[in-house]
């Protein structure tokens, strides 16, 4: 039986496509001039400094982590999750809003098999390159020019995923 009172929400094909396999799917109704994005660059700068100074971008630290021979990376990720989780709880409790007054929404993640298959493939790559996508940017910035080749192939990998996505198990 169809409930006549709740019409289907309008489907935005662009949004449908963009939110596939994406972490961030929030869409602001506000229009800002482009330079508003510089606030993200500002925190990105901070982030890049942290990546280098905490040595997270070091191939050696990733080796230690996967060989279970140092606590460092577990400490970093563990603290980050703890601080992140406490912040999320606070944001939900206080019904916090963005600096522009919009309601903060965090979408739940849906499980699909890609999280296992893709996760394993990424894990293999993480241990070889010693870098996840964030550190790739930071390694290039810190002067390791040859990492631009790794980065290029990470983009190629993403592109090939997009090309064959429909044929992969999800």
């Amino acid at each position: 039986m169809k409930d006549a009172k709740t019409p289907d929400p309008p489907v935005d094909p662009d949004f449908e496509q963009r939110s596939l396999d994406a972490v961030c799917v929030n869409e602001s109704q506000l229009q800002h001039p482009w330079w508003h994005n510089l606030k993200y660059t500002a925190w990105g700068l901070m982030f890049g400094v942290v990546f280098v100074k905490t040595e997270i971008i070091s191939w050696f630290r990733i080796q230690e982590m996967f060989r279970f021979e140092s606590f460092h990376m577990y400490g970093v990720i563990g603290t980050a999750v703890l601080v992140g989780a406490m912040s999320v709880i606070l944001i939900k409790r206080l019904k916090a809003r963005t600096m522009h007054g919009e309601t903060i929404v965090i979408h739940p993640k849906e499980f699909n098999k890609g999280q296992i298959y893709g996760g394993l493939i990424f894990g293999l790559g993480w241990a070889i390159t010693g870098a996840c996508p964030g550190p790739l940017f930071a390694q290039m910035g810190a002067g390791f020019g040859a990492i631009s080749i790794t980065f290029l192939f990470a983009v190629v990998g993403t592109w090939v995923y997009g090309l064959i996505r429909e044929r992969l198990p999800h």
Partner: protein, 187 residues
Amino acid sequence: MLEFLKQPWPWYVGGALIGLTVPILLILGNKTFGISSSLRHLCAACLPAKIPYFMYDWKKEAWNLFFVAGVLGGAMLAANFLSDPNPLVVAESTKTYLAEKGITDTSALLPAEIFAWENVLSLRGFFFFVVGGFCVGFGTRYAGGCTSGHAIMGLSNLQWPSLIATMSFMVGGVVMTWFILPYLLTL
């Protein structure tokens, strides 16, 4: 002060600042933390090639590209003005193992024996640059996120799919490190 900042920062300082990224991005503009998507936006911006997966308005996600540009710039600042002149302190057991494989240069964050331009065209380079990079890009998108999107943002929001993804990252990394890398390092 500057001398203090030049030392390597302890894990809890780095961890806390990375964790703070979660609320900061939410408050700045309702953005959920994730970095690997930037690679997709680059594809969508530069070479969508009529692939449906890249046919979307990437400009709506431009914030992500502004963020990673900052990461690159921040690393540049840290490397030029806050760099620690001392060699990296690597766990003894890791150091001994790597030395057996011929990796002894711990003067920089990445071993010069692997990640140098002259290795790019070698067989070793093929695995460390090409295969490694490809797995990072392909795997993160297939998994729908990387360490930031799943391990930090997802776990912060207590999402069990992110826990599964994070465990898969770890399994993949352990398999590579213990069973495959020992051979790749001898190439």
